[in-house]
């Protein structure tokens, strides 16, 4: 077995340190928000998760394009694994959002453009994973997944535009709170963003490794069956 590369070890270590620093900043260092109280701390997990989710889906799009162009299996693995991580983080966004919303707006859900777009995004990439799942083990099917990875991403801005108009024509219940962040909160948010980005890469590499091992195993099994 090959040893884990130096880069991976550095990534893992820095994610660990950065996570500890983030937790310290969020729960100890940064002051409690006066109006919303401790519940506002969800913000430091919610926003970075949303960022990671969008970033992950962009990676799916880029990797799908590269796969169609080069036909290297690696790009297919990147796209598939990034989509998995992205769906998990979108789920985190969709869970933490309503908890915060309930505490600060008094309601779990509102059909706000960002909320709605995130929900639709979640459905699109769930569909992508379903395609991948039913497409397992055939070269042709990798292509189908890549095509959907591209077309799904292109749809996202149009969804956002549509939902925004929909909501501006209807009465807006909750204005977006445009309160500028005090420096301490901004620092904490930035560190959390960094941590979550590092975490994304850790999870991506881990799930890619698993996928690669699984494919290797599949190949070995089919070879063994052929030899038999």
């Amino acid at each position: 077995m090959k040893h884990t590369s130096l880069l991976k070890r550095v990534l893992l270590a820095s994610t660990f340190v950065s996570m500890l620093v983030s937790l310290y900043l969020v729960f100890v260092w940064v002051p409690v928000e006066r109006q919303m109280g401790p519940v506002q701390k969800i913000f430091y997990f919610h926003v970075p998760s949303a960022w990671v989710a969008f970033f992950a889906f962009f990676v799916v799009f880029a990797a799908s394009l590269m796969f169609l162009k080069t036909r290297l299996e690696l790009y297919d693995i990147i796209a598939g694994c990034s989509a998995q991580v992205g769906v998990v983080f979108t789920a985190i966004v969709l869970i933490t959002g309503p908890i915060w919303g309930r505490a600060s707006w008094g309601t779990w859900w509102t059909w706000d453009p960002r909320l709605t777009t995130t929900l639709i995004l979640w459905f699109i990439y769930l569909a992508y994973l379903i395609i991948r799942n039913s497409a397992k083990g055939h070269v042709r099917n990798l292509r189908l997944a890549a095509v959907f990875g591209i077309i799904g991403f292109i749809d996202v801005p149009i969804v956002f535009m549509a939902v925004r108009w929909w909501r501006t024509i209807h009465p807006v219940v909750f204005e977006a709170n445009n309160i500028g962040l005090p420096p301490s909160m901004l620092t904490t948010l930035m560190v959390c963003l960094l941590t979550f980005t590092l975490l994304y890469f850790v999870l991506l590499l881990k799930s890619m490794k698993i996928e690669q091992v699984e494919r290797k195993l599949q190949n070995l099994i089919s070879e063994a069956l052929k030899a038999y």
Binding site: L144, F148, I158, V159, I169
Partner: protein
């Protein structure tokens, strides 16, 4: 250009003729959408006030549900005897197939709309305050968007397991913009609002139609590759 048009027309003709002979899609689609219309009037008391509120959504949802039935059949025909490979090895390019299939699906959906739409006037006492011409334009543009994405994704799912169940799941999230815009424009026309109030929606549908005409054209080759 003329040659491409001829090849596309060949596909359209082929599909419509075989549909005319078998009558498998359109009859099912029409029956289904009328059925939805009747069942909904049982689910919601069709009293005059509430009808206006829900009708645009109902019209579009029934259209999309019955449209899905047709889209699932689009490539089913080509599966027998490897017909698709036959078509691909003829001088017909993948994009001819895409445009041709989309056009023939559109014709079938229009037939459904022409038959179903008057029934809304009968069953729900529908009155339109806005212009009928713009309503028809909205129906046309919205249907085009739906069919363009639908035909593309039907090609994607046609070679996968559990394709019939998969198509709605992957199609509906992508349809959100066109569905939303069509429903909003339709209800604005029903209520007799001025053109300025729903023009953005029509533009959005148009943008959607264009995007999902161009992107599938660029990507359709990848769906039709034979390996």
């Amino acid at each position: 250009m003329g040659r491409a048009l001829a090849l596309i027309t060949t596909i359209i003709k082929k599909d419509l003729v075989s549909e005319l002979r078998a009558k498998e899609s359109v009859v099912t689609m029409v029956t289904f959408s009328v059925l939805i219309l009747v069942l909904f009037s049982m689910a919601f008391e069709p009293s005059r006030e509430t009808v206006r509120e829900i009708l645009p959504g109902l019209i579009w949802m029934s259209l999309i549900f019955s449209g899905i039935l047709g889209l699932n059949r689009t490539y089913a025909r080509e599966r027998f005897n490897d017909c698709l490979i036959g078509i691909l090895s003829s001088p017909i390019a993948p994009y001819h197939i895409y445009i041709g299939k989309a056009a023939s699906s559109l014709v079938q959906l229009f037939i459904v709309e022409i038959i179903t739409f008057p029934l809304y006037f009968v069953f729900y006492d529908l009155e339109i305050d806005g212009s009928l011409g713009i309503l028809l334009l909205t129906m046309l543009l919205g249907s085009v968007g739906f069919i363009l994405v639908g035909t593309f994704l039907a090609a994607l799912t046609s070679s996968l397991r559990s394709k019939e169940a998969l198509l709605p799941v992957i199609l509906f999230p992508l349809l959100v913009p066109v569905l939303l815009a069509s429903i909003e424009a339709t209800s604005a026309i029903f209520a007799g609002l001025t053109l300025n109030q729903y023009l953005p929606w029509l533009k959005l549908i148009l943008v959607y139609d264009l995007v999902f005409l161009v992107v599938p054209l660029l990507l359709f080759d990848y769906l039709m590759e034979v390996d």
